[in-house]
Amino acid sequence: MLEIKEVSYCYQQGKPVVDNVSLTVEPGEFVAIAGRNGSGKTTLTRLIMSLIKPANGQIMLNGVDTSRQSPGDIARHVGYVFQNPDSQIFRDTVASETAYGPEQLGFTAQEITASVAEALERTGLTALADAYPRNLSRGQKQRVAIASALAMKPDILILDEPTSGQDAAEKENLMRILTDLNGQGKTIILVTHDMDILARFTKRAVVMASGVKVFDGTVTELFGQNANVQKWGLREPAIMNVSRNLTKYGISPELTAAEFSRQIIGMLQGGRA
């Protein structure tokens, strides 16, 4: 379990980028952290990874205070996937790149082979195990980064804008992988700007604005507060906007295209009947 207790952080004196934030993430949750650029969401995840230390407050990971732990110590429990996978890729094959983390954490040779094979399978990269990672597409490189984190056997996976710069099919594929991992018990924390992805795939949303946590609840509750959503620099999903415009025809606002289609089909079939 991850507990963030009244944490603050400033890059410049007197200008907090994270201001007195408290947050608890239970095992198995799929949480999205949203907010406009500069709202403090990436800083919050960097604090979790001990890449920077809180000015105030405490971060507890499985009951242990992380203030004296290095990012390498945290990596045993939390896998972090950066926005740009090129920041980390340096080996000649996908498999050896994935093996870097387990090697650093002191896994045995057998454990490394097994964890790499499992991570590649979970991310759909088994067929690319011997490929040169730099030649892969952006989406495939992002999956290599996820596999690299998974191979270290973390309980929690944090992903910073993993779908940026990817086409629709790659985004869909990536989100399916994350949903499957969550279904297998992994806790997923997703930093995202993409409201369609947030609405479709995550269960809980945390919204940051000017370093402050302004919302923490279900996705349905979030988009029920239309005025605040815009004030926080977010945009409601396109399908929500369309369905909201059709409320006078008996359609209720929906977060996903599937639910919206179901309503329309139901209405059309009812009309015919």
Binding site: M49, N84, S87, F90, G101, Q104, R134
Partner: protein, 227 residues
């Protein structure tokens, strides 16, 4: 300082280096360093540059210690350190007060440096902060995968490959993209023009006259009074 033409600031950089060579007394060299720091404070750039100045001072102190340890007398060693601070600080002033585009324009149109060389020089300077930012991003990414950089020298050296690899590959990729982008926008296609006006104005001529006077004064002072 911000309003002076880039050529004036380039000449100022050379002038300060000449003054540092002319001066031999510790007091004179020290005052030259203090004057430059005061100049940075006066143009509101001290807060932005003080870390660089402190690093220079640390490096100069190291230089003094090495010189002293190798048998130089203390006064000569300290003078060497101060001279290094004087010459390096003026480059900090030049880079902090001049836009790279203006510097390239001045080098090409007024100093008649071939534009490929001028561009190479200014691009290399511009790459330093980008490179540092990339280096930080790579270090953080690998730290999250267990990189610590601890252990024996051999272990640290091999571990360092995890940082150097992505950094070099990204730098190569970035320079390739930049080269293509420049070619696609006509770099080296023939006679070029500049949108920046870097011509000298009255304040530049006054500053240049002041620099000539100070240089003459230091030369005379050294010859007559042995400064």
């Amino acid at each position: 300082m911000n309003k002076l033409a880039p050529l004036t600031k380039l000449i100022f950089t050379v002038a300060v280096s000449v003054w540092a060579m002319l001066l031999t007394s510790l007091l004179g060299l020290g005052l030259l360093a203090v004057a430059q720091i005061l100049l940075l404070a006066a143009v509101g750039l001290l807060k932005r540059t003080y870390k660089g100045i402190l690093s220079l001072t640390f490096f100069a102190a190291l230089l003094v210690l090495i010189q002293y340890a190798l048998g130089s007398n203390l006064e000569a060693a300290v003078a060497g350190g101060l001279r290094m601070i004087d010459m390096a600080t003026v480059f900090v002033i030049l880079l902090a007060t001049t836009k790279m585009q203006s510097l390239t324009t001045a080098l090409v149109s007024q100093c008649h440096v071939p534009q490929e060389y001028a561009f190479m020089f200014t691009t290399a300077l511009r790459f330093i902060p980008d490179f540092l930012a990339e280096s930080k991003a790579v270090r953080e990414a690998q730290a999250c995968r267990g990189y610590t950089g601890k252990g024996s020298i051999v272990r640290r050296f091999t571990a360092y490959l995890a940082l150097v690899g992505p950094l070099v590959l990204r730098a190569v990729s970035r320079s390739e993209t930049m080269a293509l982008s420049l070619e696609l926008r006509g770099f080296g296609a023939g006679r070029r023009s500049f949108s920046k006006d870097v011509g000298l104005r009255l304040r530049d001529y006054c500053t240049l006259a002041g620099m000539v006077a100070v240089t003459a004064g230091f030369t005379a002072g050294r010859m007559i009074y042995g400064w």
